[in-house]
């Protein structure tokens, strides 16, 4: 897909709105981190932007902060091949940070606004097959690449964003019982 390498349209849009809404500022910075090759400068950017929170996080749990700095260069180097996968990793590291920090992370949003992109196979209001296709794509990807392959994480993210939890549970059960009605 074309959206894999370039920032998605919503991200581009958020770049313009950067100054006005603090919702937009966070994901934009993360996308900058991905695009920029030097991770240290990116880390400095984050610190300068919200110094109090950053200092707190380094003060309480230096291990978590170091972890994030260490993981970002790896992700940015990977981002040339597969941007969604690296962003997925970034998200995971962010979540790890959160669970590690606990009380400090409550003060500033640590969330990247990102969801399944618009898919031009499904340009209509009816998105039922979009969800189903993404679910199948994920499980075919896992079948091909093996469990926990980083390439498949984006499909997991997409189907989780699109499908109701109830449906996913039902399909998981059906797969276990071997009654899933789709090409896996």
């Amino acid at each position: 897909m074309a959206t894999d390498t370039a920032p998605s349209l919503s991200e581009q849009y958020l770049l313009d709105k950067d100054g006005k809404s603090d919702v937009g500022s966070k994901p934009v910075d993360l996308s900058k981190e991905e695009s920029a090759e030097e991770a240290p400068t990116a880390a400095i950017e984050v610190k300068t932007e919200e110094p109090a929170a950053a200092q707190e996080s380094t003060g309480t749990t230096p291990a978590a902060a170091e972890e994030s700095i260490e993981t970002t260069p790896a992700a940015s180097s990977e981002s040339t091949e597969a941007a969604p996968a690296s962003s997925e990793e970034n998200n995971e590291t962010a979540e790890e940070e959160k669970s590690g920090e606990g009380e400090t992370s409550e003060e500033k949003p640590e969330i990247k606004l990102e969801t399944a992109p618009a898919d031009f196979r499904f340009p209509t209001t009816n998105q039922t097959r979009h969800c189903f296709t993404r679910y199948i794509e994920y499980h075919r990807c896992v079948a091909a690449k093996g469990e926990g392959a980083p390439e498949c994480d984006k499909f997991a993210k997409y189907y989780r964003a699109l499908c109701p939890g109830e449906w996913v549970e039902r399909w998981n059960e059906q797969r276990e019982n071997g009654t899933f009605p789709g090409p896996l």
């Binding site: 809404s21 919702v23 669970s99 949003p109 640590e110 606004l113 618009a118 993210k157």
Partner: protein, 256 residues
């Protein structure tokens, strides 16, 4: 004091329906602004036509009188006027159709990649909302039920049949994808000031894209007859969406 409370607290919800309301609620999305503009544009021509037709009608009734005009005119044929009154009225709907279709198709266009997906699942009689963009497994997602507050529990200033216990929180000025579906019968997710009405069909996912322009509390109700307690939802748009959601997510990640 009591009077002031009554005056301000009853008027304050600007994005809810008010008593004896004639027009639409204030629009909060480009979609709703488009709808309101189209309505006003069409209404201008509608009133012109209304005045013209009423004039003809009243004039005809006025002059058709046994004393003033004992012998009525007996015109049964007029080619020119027949052509005119056939062609012209058929052109008017065509001119109305142009902006109308433009708006209609722009409303369900999937133009940009959304930043957030929110799933609204209809039940009898509540809504379940799922925010699952931040999941790392199938189980943990930010899910909550939104029930309407019953009439007896309402506090002063809250709107009857509109207030809910858990509001949906969305960020302003962000492209949102709302996936609407149902778990039992037909419902419809509708918020008038957002210009949104989407049927919730069991087994089908309907998508609507919205872009909320300002912060506020936006009220809506189920728009499909779905049973006795057929009223539902409310959406709130806020700037601090990120911190809200991460605050909600942290307890979950700690539990998991």
């Amino acid at each position: 004091m009591k009077f002031l409370e009554w005056l301000f607290l009853t008027i304050s919800p600007c994005d809810a329906a008010e008593p004896w309301q004639l027009g639409s609620q204030d629009g909060a999305t480009p979609m709703m602004q488009g709808i309101i503009d189209l309505h006003h544009d069409i209404f201008f021509f509608l009133i012109l036509i209304l005045v013209f037709v009423l004039r003809i009608l009243v004039r005809a009734l006025w002059h058709f009188h046994y004393q003033k005009n004992p012998i009525p005119q007996r015109i049964v044929h007029g080619t020119t006027i027949e052509i005119l009154r056939t062609i012209f009225p058929s052109l008017i709907p065509m001119f109305i159709a142009i902006p109308s279709f433009a708006l209609l198709y722009s409303m369900d266009e999937v133009v940009v990649d959304p930043a957030i997906t929110i799933k609204a699942i209809g039940h009898q009689w509540y809504r379940t909302y799922e925010y699952s963009d931040y999941n790392s497994s199938d189980e943990q997602s930010l899910t909550f039920d939104s029930y309407m507050i019953p009439e007896d529990d309402l506090e002063l200033g809250q709107s009857r049949l509109l207030e809910v216990d858990n509001r949906v929180i969305v960020p302003a000025k962000t492209h949102l994808r709302i996936i609407v579906t149902s778990a039992d019968v037909l419902h419809s997710w509708a918020v008038p000031s957002l210009g949104v009405k989407c049927d919730a069909v069991p087994g089908r996912l309907n998508q609507i894209s919205i872009w909320v322009q300002r912060e506020g509390v936006f009220y809506g109700q189920c728009s499909e007859i779905c049973g006795t307690n057929h009223a539902f939802t409310q959406a709130v748009s806020r700037k601090d969406y990120g911190s809200r959601v991460s605050n909600q997510l942290i307890p979950q990640t700690e539990e998991a």
